[in-house]
C-alpha cells in the first residue's frame, strides 16, 4: 500500500483546460448512493435502503487566475457555455508517471461557479460539477492508468519502451483518454494519437477501435482538448501510446494519454 500527497496531484484537465497549474487548492470527488429511509413500525433503528441511483459531485477551490486557458476562462469567459456545460475531466492522483492511476469523468456538468473576494485575502474561485446530463451520454467515472504522462513532445514517438502491463489480454476493450493542454504552432490535423497493444511486449500494433484520436479542432478556439474514446474490441496485455506529428504539427504539443481496460 502506498500513500500519496498533494505534490502528486499531477494534472487536472477539464475540457482541455489545465486547471491545476498554480491555482488549484483543493479538489473533492464524491460519489454517493441515494438512499431512502425504509424503516417501518416495529423497527428499533432507522434503516436506509438504496433506491438504485448514484450521484457524483466534484468541488473545486482555487485561486483566481485570469490567464489564457486559466481557471477563470474555463468557467466564466463564456458564462452561458461554461455553466451547464458538460465536459470531460481527468485528474492524476498518484503523480505524473507512466503506469500510475488517473481518474476520468464524463460528462462533468458545471453547475455553479463563484468568485470569492475577501478583505486581506487572495481572490478565490469555487466551482461545482455534477455527473450526467438529462439528454447526454451515460455517466462515466473511471480509474485508469497513465500510459503517456502529461508532457511536451516535439516529434513523432511512442511509449512501447514503457508499455503498461495489464497482466492479461481482455476481450471487452477499454477506454482511452487524451488530454491536450498545449499545441504550439498547430494547424489542422497535425497530431494523431493512437493506442498500441501487444501480447508479448515485443510486437505491437495500433488498436483499431482506439485509433486516430486526432486533434483536428482543438477546443474550437483554443489549443487544448480532452476526449474519451471507447472500444469493445479486445485489448492485448501490454498497452502503449503512439503519436504522429503530421503536416501542421507546429513546434510542440503537450498531452497525456490514459487507458482504462474494461
Amino acid at each position: 500500500m502506498s500513500k500519496f500527497g498533494s505534490d502528486q496531484v499531477a494534472f487536472c484537465v477539464l475540457g482541455g483546460y489545465d486547471i491545476l497549474s498554480g491555482v488549484l487548492i483543493s479538489l473533492t470527488d464524491k460519489e454517493e448512493t441515494i438512499t431512502e429511509e425504509s424503516h417501518t413500525l416495529g423497527d428499533a433503528w432507522v434503516e436506509h435502503s438504496p433506491v438504485g441511483v448514484r450521484r457524483a459531485e466534484l468541488t473545486i477551490d482555487a485561486f483566481y487566475d485570469d490567464a489564457t486557458l486559466g481557471i477563470d476562462e474555463c468557467f466564466s469567459t463564456n458564462q452561458s457555455a461554461a455553466i451547464g456545460a458538460a465536459r470531460a475531466l481527468v485528474y492524476g492522483v498518484e503523480g505524473n508517471t507512466t503506469g500510475v492511476q488517473f481518474v476520468g469523468w464524463q460528462p462533468a456538468q458545471v453547475i455553479d461557479y463563484e468568485r470569492v473576494l475577501s478583505r486581506g485575502s487572495l481572490h478565490r474561485v469555487k466551482a461545482t460539477l455534477r455527473n450526467g446530463q438529462r439528454t447526454g451520454a451515460p455517466t462515466v467515472i473511471e480509474q485508469g492508468r497513465i500510459i503517456k504522462p502529461l508532457a511536451g513532445v516535439t516529434a513523432t514517438g511512442n511509449t512501447t519502451g514503457a508499455a503498461i502491463d495489464f497482466s492479461a489480454s481482455n476481450v471487452s476493450g477499454g477506454a482511452a483518454w487524451l488530454a491536450i493542454t498545449s499545441l504550439v504552432g498547430f494547424e489542422a490535423t497535425g497530431l494523431v494519437v493512437d493506442i498500441m497493444h501487444s501480447a508479448d511486449n515485443l510486437t505491437f500494433s495500433t488498436h483499431a477501435g482506439l485509433l486516430s484520436v486526432s486533434a483536428s479542432t482543438p477546443n474550437g478556439v483554443v489549443n487544448s482538448w480532452l476526449q474519451r474514446v471507447v472500444s469493445t474490441a479486445p485489448v492485448q496485455r501490454y498497452v502503449a501510446a503512439r503519436w504522429v506529428a503530421g503536416t501542421g504539427f507546429g513546434t510542440s504539443a503537450q498531452f497525456m494519454v490514459g487507458f482504462a481496460p474494461k
Binding site: N158, A199, L202, A208
Partner: protein
C-alpha cells in the same frame, strides 16, 4: 519455414540485445529497441520476433501465406 503477411501495421524491435532484455522482463527504451514497421499487406521479414508469430496468427494480426504468393 512459413511465410506470413501482416493484416495490420506492426511494430517490432530489431535490436537483439534489446529483445533479450525485453524477454527478461526489462523495460527497454524505445530508442534502444530499433523499432521497425511492417505495413498491412506486407510479408513479414525475418527479423520479427518468433515468439510473436503464434499469438499474432491466432488473433488474426498476420496470416500464413504460401511460397507462391510471396513470389508474386
Amino acid at each position: 519455414m512459413s511465410n506470413y503477411r501482416a493484416q495490420r501495421a506492426l511494430w517490432y524491435p530489431t535490436d537483439r540485445a534489446a529483445i533479450r532484455r525485453i524477454r527478461a522482463g526489462e523495460r527497454v527504451p524505445m530508442k534502444q529497441r530499433g523499432l521497425r514497421r511492417v505495413a498491412p499487406g506486407e510479408i513479414l521479414p525475418d527479423g520479427v520476433p518468433r515468439e510473436s508469430l503464434g499469438w499474432m496468427l491466432i488473433k488474426g494480426w498476420i496470416e500464413e501465406v504460401a511460397d507462391e504468393q510471396v513470389r508474386v
